[in-house]
C-alpha cells in the first residue's frame, strides 16, 4: 500500500485484511494457535501514511516470546507492503485466557493441550477481598489438599479421551502458561493451559 490518501472504506477493508494476515502468525511456543486466537493482538489501526499501528499485550510479564512475536508481525506485514509497522505494547487491561477464541481452544485440544477450563481469577473480587483469595481456612477437613473457596479447582478434561477424571501433577509445565496433569482413565499425561 502506498503512502497516498486512504479513504475510510479502504482503511476498513485494509484493517480486516491486516487482522487476517496476523491471524496466520503462529504463537512461537504453541504453533497450533495463532497470536490472534491467543488474544495477544489487542488493536490494529491503519494510518493515513499507509502504515499501521499494532497493539500487542504479553501473556505473562516474563513471556520470552514477545520479541519473537513482535518481529514476526513486522516481517509479515512488511512482506505484504505495509510500512511503517509501529508496534505498541500494552499491559493494561492485563491479558486473560478469557480472550482466547473458541477456534484457539479447539486447536489446543486437538494438539493435546487441555484448554482453560473456567473463567479467570476475578481481579475485582481480589481487590475487595485480598485475604479471601488466598485463604486456606475454609477446608480444615482436608488440610493436605486445601481448596480455595474463591477459586475452586477447575474440572480439567483430558484432551485425549475426554475423561474429567484427571489430577494435577505440577502447577507449572513447559511454559509459564501451562500446568501438568494426568488422566486417571487413559493414563496419559498432558499439558493444561491454565486459566489466567
Amino acid at each position: 500500500m502506498n503512502a497516498t490518501a486512504v479513504t475510510p472504506a479502504q482503511a476498513g477493508a485494509h484493517t480486516t485484511q491486516i487482522w487476517a494476515w496476523l491471524g496466520a502468525i503462529p504463537d512461537p511456543e504453541i504453533p497450533v494457535i495463532s497470536i490472534v486466537d491467543l488474544g495477544i493482538v489487542r488493536a490494529v489501526r491503519v494510518s493515513a501514511d499507509g502504515g499501521c499501528d499494532i497493539t500487542i499485550t504479553p501473556t505473562y510479564s516474563g513471556c520470552p516470546a514477545m520479541q519473537v512475536i513482535a518481529d514476526a508481525i513486522t516481517e509479515a506485514l512488511q512482506a505484504r507492503g505495509v510500512r511503517p509497522v509501529r508496534l505498541h505494547t500494552q499491559i493494561s487491561p492485563a491479558w486473560t485466557t478469557d480472550w482466547m477464541s473458541e477456534t484457539g481452544k479447539a486447536a489446543l485440544k486437538d494438539y493435546g493441550i487441555a484448554p482453560p477450563a473456567q473463567r479467570v481469577i476475578d481481579i475485582s473480587r481480589l481487590r475487595t477481598g485480598a485475604a479471601a483469595a488466598i485463604s486456606r481456612r475454609a477446608h480444615p477437613a482436608h488440610p493436605a489438599h486445601p481448596a480455595h473457596p474463591a477459586h475452586p479447582a477447575p474440572t480439567v478434561a483430558c484432551p485425549h479421551c475426554g475423561s474429567t477424571h484427571t489430577e494435577i501433577t505440577s502447577q507449572f509445565g513447559s511454559t509459564p502458561c501451562k500446568a501438568l496433569y494426568r488422566c486417571l482413565d487413559c493414563r496419559e499425561p498432558f499439558d493444561y493451559f491454565k486459566c489466567h
Binding site: 510479564s61 516474563g62 499491559i91 485480598a130 488466598i134 486456606r136 502447577q171
Partner: protein, 250 residues
C-alpha cells in the same frame, strides 16, 4: 534521587535478585516439577523487573535503560531487601524465603493495583495473577514440608527461624516509602504487616510450624543499599558478561 524512581528501583531490585537466586536452581531442583516451577517463577519475576526498571529509567531520564540498571550498578546501588539475597541453602530455606516474600508481595501488589500512579497500577494489575499463583504454590509447599516427615518439619522450622529476622524489612518504611504512601502511590506499612502476619500464621498453623515472635528484632538496610556479603557474589555472577565484555549483545 527522586523518591518515585527510588521506590520503583526497590520493587525491581527485589524481583531481580530473587529471580537470579531462583534461576540458580535450574537443572538442580529436587524434582523435575520443582525445577520447572522455580524457573517459571523466576521468569515471572524477571518480567516484572523489566516493567519496574523501564518505568524507573524513563522517569530518571538519565539515559540508563533496564540493562544498565541490572548489569551496571554495584552492590551499594541495589535496593533489594536483605531477605532476597539470603542464600538458597536447602530446599526449605529457598521455599521459606519465597513464602515470606510471596506473602508480602501479594498484599503489596494487590494494594498497588489501587495506586494513584496509573502506570504503577497497570504493572500491579499485570503482576497480580502471577503473584497470586506464586503465593498459593509456596504456601502449599510450606504446609507439605512442615506437616511432612520429622526431617522436613525440622528443616522447615529451622528455615522459618533463621529467615525471620529478614522478614520485617519490607515493613520498615523510610522517607521514600512514606512519600509514596502520602502521595497515594503505595499502601501503608501497618496494613500490609497485619495482613502478612495473619496469612503466615494461618499457613504455619496448618503446617504445624511455630511462628517466631512478631515483635522480634529485625534486620534492615538493604533498601538503603547496605547489604550483606551475599549480594556481591550474586552480582559477580549475574553481571560478569557485561563487566567483562561491555556492550555485548546476543
Amino acid at each position: 534521587m527522586d523518591d518515585k524512581v527510588n521506590y520503583l528501583l526497590r520493587l525491581g531490585d527485589n524481583a531481580l535478585i530473587l529471580s537470579q537466586q531462583l534461576s540458580r536452581w535450574c537443572g538442580k531442583g529436587p524434582a523435575l516439577e520443582e525445577d520447572m516451577a522455580l524457573t517459571n517463577v523466576a521468569l515471572d519475576l524477571l518480567g516484572q523487573t523489566r516493567l519496574w526498571y523501564d518505568y524507573a529509567a524513563e522517569l530518571e531520564g538519565a539515559g540508563r535503560d533496564e540493562d544498565a540498571l541490572a548489569f551496571l550498578r554495584d552492590a551499594h546501588e541495589f535496593k533489594n531487601c536483605l531477605l532476597l539475597e539470603q542464600p538458597n541453602g536447602n530446599y526449605a530455606d529457598t521455599l521459606m524465603r519465597q513464602f515470606y516474600f510471596d506473602t508480602w508481595h501479594y498484599f503489596l501488589i494487590e494494594g498497588l493495583t489501587r495506586s494513584a500512579d496509573p502506570r504503577i497500577a497497570a504493572i500491579a494489575e499485570k503482576s497480580l495473577k502471577e503473584v497470586t499463583y506464586h503465593l498459593r504454590r509456596s504456601g502449599d509447599l510450606i504446609v507439605r514440608l512442615g506437616d511432612g516427615t520429622d526431617v522436613s518439619h525440622a528443616k522447615t522450622q529451622a528455615a522459618a527461624n533463621a529467615l525471620w529476622m529478614y522478614s520485617g524489612e519490607v515493613f520498615a518504611y523510610d522517607t521514600v516509602d512514606e512519600a509514596m504512601v502520602a502521595a497515594g502511590i503505595a499502601p501503608a506499612a501497618a496494613d500490609l504487616r497485619a495482613q502478612w502476619l495473619a496469612h503466615v500464621d494461618e499457613v504455619f498453623t496448618e503446617a504445624t510450624l511455630t511462628m517466631p515472635p512478631a515483635d522480634a528484632w529485625m534486620q534492615s538496610g538493604g533498601k538503603q543499599g547496605r547489604h550483606s556479603e551475599h549480594l556481591g557474589y550474586i552480582l559477580a555472577e549475574m553481571q560478569f558478561l557485561q563487566r567483562a565484555y561491555p556492550g555485548a549483545t546476543w
